[in-house]
Symmetry: C2
Subunit: 211 residues, 2 copies
DNA sequence: TAGATTGTTAATCGATTAACAATC
DNA sequence: TAGATTGTTAATCGATTAACAATC
């Protein structure tokens, strides 16, 4: 029943996947699961699952297993999904629009409060209920609304310039989709990269070694 | 100078990032770098960098360091970037179009040979030089062109059905952008997931723990 | 109670770091 | 040659797995 002080990043990185699997189970009406069953579904060891869940206090019951909805909520709490971090999206091209349309911000602890682009063609249009503003007005917007995170959906060529500007304005957290590391120039920023190119290289390696 | 037989996945997962940094250095005209310099840029230890590079044979020179273009090429070879794996893209919505337009397939060891959708509005249109075909014709296309990988840019609601169909046709590798694990039903498939929701949860956790 | 399954400690395994001899 | 930096072995650290007592 004792909670660990510092949960290691190895464990944290597994939590979203647990959350996803538990949501799936809950949707299918499963209310109870043992570490053994879950380990088979997720291809982990039952030992690891018990170790992981025990990092944040025991939620199981000997002889019974874990309560699915309760466990899902607890993992959500650890991840901070009850938060409502204000964020803005920069770049309303295809990628930006895909994210605006399909990302369930509220379920993930965020709230999208603005989207920006520099093309007169898209400024003023509304995408998935969110109006696209002129990127030139970002400074004023920040002053009035203080978003804490920026989702960068801009091309590699401009991401350096834009992240510098946003950093200068005061934003310290980025969700970055470009093939560039913002932390290179801003080591203290909290950056979560979705490096699709890197992901595709890894896939290429795996296909090669399928012999 | 001896090559390791089995390179561990911990090392492999770092290779794309090395490749990216070396490409950047090369673009800036840097031809030579020591493990120490690179370690400072990448925030790794020099020891780890030397260990990693030595997995696939020594490419450095004592007292000098590493040759940047040569090292980049060697890492590319390990990753198999000289390949030309044929792939198809399913779902020409915003996400699919972003990938068609910006992913440098050839540099990453792939070749996009077809894109498919089921909406009459997009079938027949050309996006970034690639014609969108009717998803109903995928079976015929596979028989004629045998792509080995499918990029799935379809919503969560249909990804299960579509991946089942593609698996049944003969495709065994997937680059998956939906919030679902194809390996659940097809354990032998090679699946590389880009779980954006998971990534955003991790970001949320990190923002929470910034105290 | 007996069976099942957790929580937790101990053992193992693998990955990272440190150290230094080899050598350019 | 002297200085620098690799390649490689040994030491450390952390994460995973195994085992089992606690207990529902």
């Amino acid at each position: 029943m004792q909670k660990k002080e510092n949960i290691s990043m190895s464990v944290i990185r597994r939590l979203p996947r647990y959350h996803r699997f538990l949501s799936e189970l809950e949707k299918n009406g499963v209310t109870r699961i043992s570490s053994k069953e879950l380990s088979e579904k997720m291809r982990l060891t039952a030992s690891q699952i018990r170790q992981d869940f025990n990092c944040f206090g025991g939620f199981g019951q000997q002889g019974y297993g874990y309560n699915v909805p309760q466990l899902r909520v607890e993992i959500g709490k650890i991840l901070g999904l009850q938060n409502n971090f204000k964020c803005v999206l920069i770049g309303a091209g295809n990628l930006g629009r895909a994210i605006m349309g399909h990302m369930p911000f509220e379920q993930l602890g965020f709230q999208l409060i603005g989207a920006f682009d520099n093309s007169p063609k898209v400024i003023g249009t509304v995408i998935s209920g969110c109006k696209i503003s002129d990127y030139q007005d970002i400074r004023k917007f920040y002053a009035e609304n203080s978003p804490i995170m920026a989702i960068l959906c801009v091309p590699r060529e401009v991401v350096e310039k834009i992240s510098d500007e946003l950093y200068e304005i005061g934003i310290r957290s980025f969700w970055n989709f470009s093939h560039y590391d913002i932390s290179l120039k801003h080591p203290d920023a909290t950056v979560e990269n979705v490096h699709m190119n890197d992901s595709m290289m890894t896939l290429c390696y795996r296909l090669c070694t399928l012999e």
